[in-house]
């Protein structure tokens, strides 16, 4: 930390020869006072006091130390850069006229009511603070120039006649300012250097206190983000996460209120979550009645973070003022590069801290991730279902094509062979008849295989008459008795029916091949919006669904419609294959 003591400017002239004019006998006492004041501040910081408290005490001690009736400590946000990261000018350097805002973080004495904590004001050229920031060192204003300056009214009311401002520089950057004012004609000479000395050391304490607070907040924020991330990881419904995030955001940033809003494609918006101040819109309802130049509109238009430091300056913002919200910050939520919604925090005090936007980003990113996850999951489910349905459609089409094509050609050939054989009967040509019979057998085998193939693609009776009817042929093909019991009303979709059908076909094939069972049962029920398919046998068990038992392939189709397939087959049996398929209306 550095306290520049050289430079020039309007405030400087009054400080000429500081220190040298002071009687030597005062010096040790002043140093002792300064030490004591600094010790009190340091003790406070070491005790883990909150920054706000430290700022207050610093203002207080400073006032006492230099005999000022009014002092305040303020943060400074210089525009044109990420304040407070603006480099302080070098010792001889003079920067351009500083522009930006100061925000009071601690005040002492008479000024407390007029310039309270949270008081925010724009820097203008006539201010002592502007002068201090321009030169990087203490600046003084008194007399007419103070009375006619931007604070003239307040100054006048309080009867103040001279003011000194000293920049607080931390880590080579402006952190803020201290300002001291007196009702005496002027501060004594040397006030600047005493103030600068104190501020240099107190500033360190301030920075420490703030750093610690930041760490605590960061830790809190991380804990909170971790809790929210757990919700995301657990795949909680988005509404749960929206409510949780909004609540956390309210706790950390506004204290007053926090709201999450989703922008709809039709230009409307929906209130997704509300924390703190009651909203005039219920959660889930259309978000309306917002100020026409408020943050809902701005964020939607710009897709960027936006803030309002004082709703009293915003036309049409009475609705916020009635809620007791004076300032607000809103962050956009972008999902996959698209503006999806926003989170806004509102405070009853003017102007939320300048790092609010930056700190809220982590929360909006979490929401964006959760929404993107939920969206891609939903898209995955529908696209998988589409693929399953599309492949079903292809199977049905191939079945139709084969039925109308190859199968009919083969039947026509069978007719021709049959007719030929009838004619040859009279001709007494056993060799030719034997050849014809061979051709008939081959044709019959071909058409039988083709029929198995087309039935395996999609049995038409399944679409036409449903599962119960279609399963008769499957059961009849089984070498062991199968009891089929189907109660499915209303019928599920063609896709779901097809999956259920092939599950039964495959399961019965497995029973025949491996189970050494004497009987099997097929039970299919519709329970609300689930279709339950249960195939059981009294065989030896030990079936492994992973061992390439055609069921593994079916498991993909089952999961394609978000269903589940379980095989319970202990050694010694019995084996039960259970499939559950969603069949919502």
């Amino acid at each position: 930390m550095r306290t520049p003591d050289a430079g020039s400017g309007e405030g400087r002239t009054a400080d000429a020869g500081r220190g040298r004019d002071q009687p030597d006998e005062d010096r040790p006492r002043q140093l002792a006072d300064e030490q004591a004041a600094l010790r009190r501040v340091a003790t406070l910081v070491a005790g883990g006091a909150r920054p706000a408290e430290v700022f207050m005490v610093v203002a207080d001690e400073l006032g006492r130390l230099i005999g000022a009736e009014a002092t305040f400590v303020s943060r400074v946000d210089l525009s044109g850069a990420d304040s407070p990261g603006v480099p302080a000018p070098g010792a001889s350097g003079e920067r351009a006229e500083p522009e930006g805002y100061i925000t009071v973080v601690g005040s002492y004495g008479r000024i407390r009511d007029e310039v309270p904590v949270g008081f925010r004001v724009k820097l203008t050229p006539g201010m002592v603070m502007t002068a201090a920031l321009r030169t990087g060192g203490p600046a003084r204003i008194n007399g007419e120039r103070l009375a006619n300056g931007p604070f003239g009214a307040i100054i006048g009311r309080l009867g103040l006649r001279a003011a000194v401002a000293t920049p607080i520089v931390a880590g080579g950057h402006y952190w803020g300012l201290t300002v001291a004012a007196t009702s005496r004609e002027d501060f004594p000479a040397g006030t600047e250097s005493r103030m600068a000395e104190f501020v240099e050391l107190a500033g360190m304490a301030i920075a420490n206190a703030e750093a610690e607070q930041k760490l605590r907040e960061l830790a809190d924020t991380q804990a909170s983000l971790r809790r929210l991330a757990m919700l995301v990881a657990r795949g909680e419904p988005p509404e749960v996460l929206f409510a949780a995030v909004t609540k956390e955001v309210q706790r950390y940033f506004g204290g007053g209120t926090a709201r999450m809003v989703r922008y709809e494609v039709d230009g409307t918006a929906t209130l997704l979550a509300n924390a703190g101040t009651e909203s005039h819109v219920r959660v889930g309802g259309r978000w309306e009645g917002y100020p026409p130049t408020g943050l809902t509109v701005t964020v939607r238009r710009t897709g960027r973070a936006a803030r309002i430091d004082d709703y009293r300056d915003v036309p049409g913002a009475e609705v916020r003022l009635r809620e007791g919200i004076l300032s607000s910050v809103a962050l956009p939520i972008h999902v996959n590069g698209q503006l999806w919604g926003m989170i806004a925090v509102g405070s009853g005090q003017a102007s939320l801290p300048p790092d609010t936007e930056q700190r809220m980003t982590e929360f909006t990113e979490l929401v964006a991730t959760a929404v993107a996850n939920a969206q891609s999951r939903a898209e995955l489910i529908t696209s998988r279902a589409r693929i399953v349905a599309a492949s079903d459609e292809v199977r049905r089409r191939i079945e139709r094509d084969l039925h109308d094509g190859a199968q009919q050609q083969l039947v026509a050939m069978q007719m021709t062979l049959g007719r030929l054989r009838s004619r040859m009967k009279a001709a007494d040509d056993p060799e030719s008849i034997a050849l014809i019979d061979e051709a008939r057998r081959e044709a019959r085998q071909a058409i039988g295989e083709l029929r198995d193939l087309t039935r395996g693609l999609h049995p038409p009776v399944l679409t036409d008459r449903g599962l119960d009817a279609a399963l008769s042929a499957i059961a009849a093909r089984s070498p062991i008795p199968v009891a089929v019991d189907v109660a499915v009303s209303p019928r599920p979709s063609i896709t779901v029916e097809a999956i259920a059908y092939f599950v039964v076909a495959e399961a019965l094939t497995n029973v025949a091949k491996h189970a050494q069972a004497t009987r099997a049962t097929v039970t299919i029920r519709r329970v609300a919006d689930r279709l339950l398919v249960i195939v059981g046998d009294d065989g030896r068990g030990g079936a492994d669904p992973a061992l390439g038992s055609g069921l593994a392939g079916l498991a993909d189709r089952v999961s394609g419609v978000d269903g589940t397939l379980r095989v319970n087959s202990p050694i010694g049996g019995p084996t039960v294959v259970e499939v559950e398929l969603p069949c919502g209306s």
Partner: protein, 214 residues
């Protein structure tokens, strides 16, 4: 014997027509869908119609639905349904509570002209001709399982052959057993099913129906 054919594939329609004509059947009409079939049956009142299941306009079960109309409106006309697949459910619907004059065969069966013509004649005469494939399905789905348990495997084979509409000689030929053995199995079946002699020749149908639970 006068026959009407309903088959949407021109190739098969013509093949069937020739096959039947060569066997001295009188094919009075050959149409391509269910609606034309009903008009044709109304106009010709044939002894039997040979009907494809999947026909325009929906290619689902038009032939079957036309067959049911024919069975209720023209009981004197037998219906032989042909299909690439046979389904228990269609058979059950087709038979209803009366298997008289009903046939349901895989199209493949046309390659044995003698058997096929025999089926056409039986259906025309008011008897039944069911494909062995569909009989198997009917037996599996029979809700009357108890009497089925009482039959020996051989008796079940004989019953299945009966359900297909075979004569005693046909059953004997298929199962390679003598006429006396066939008679013995059949009387055992009737006994186990509780069908008495006074039910006459109809017992064969009743036996099948009981088993099928139709």
């Amino acid at each position: 014997m006068r026959v009407v054919i309903a088959e949407d594939s021109a190739l098969l329609r013509e093949g069937l027509r020739r096959l039947l004509v060569e066997q001295d059947l009188d094919v009075v009409d050959a149409v391509a869908d269910g609606e034309q079939l009903l008009r044709s049956v109304a106009a010709h009142e044939p002894d039997v119609c040979v009907v494809d299941v999947r026909m325009p306009p929906t290619f689902v079960d038009e032939g079957l639905r036309a067959a049911l109309v024919i069975r209720s409106r023209w009981p004197g006309t037998g219906v032989l349904v042909l299909s690439q697949y046979v389904e228990e459910r269609y058979a059950t619907e087709l038979i209803g509570d009366n298997p008289d004059g009903v046939g349901y065969l895989l199209k493949d069966r046309v390659d044995d002209v003698d058997d096929f013509i025999d089926a056409v004649r039986r259906v025309a005469a008011g008897d039944t001709a069911l494909d062995p494939e569909v009989v198997k399905q009917l037996l599996v789905r029979s809700r009357k399982t108890d009497p089925l348990q009482a039959l020996t495997p051989r008796e079940r084979d004989v019953l299945a052959a009966m359900a297909e509409g075979r004569s005693n000689a046909g059953i004997g030929a298929e199962l390679v057993i003598g006429p006396a053995a066939v008679e013995k199995h059949i009387s055992n079946i009737f006994m186990k099913l509780g069908l008495r002699a006074e039910d006459g020749e109809h017992r064969r149908v009743l036996a099948v129906l009981r088993y099928l639970g139709a």
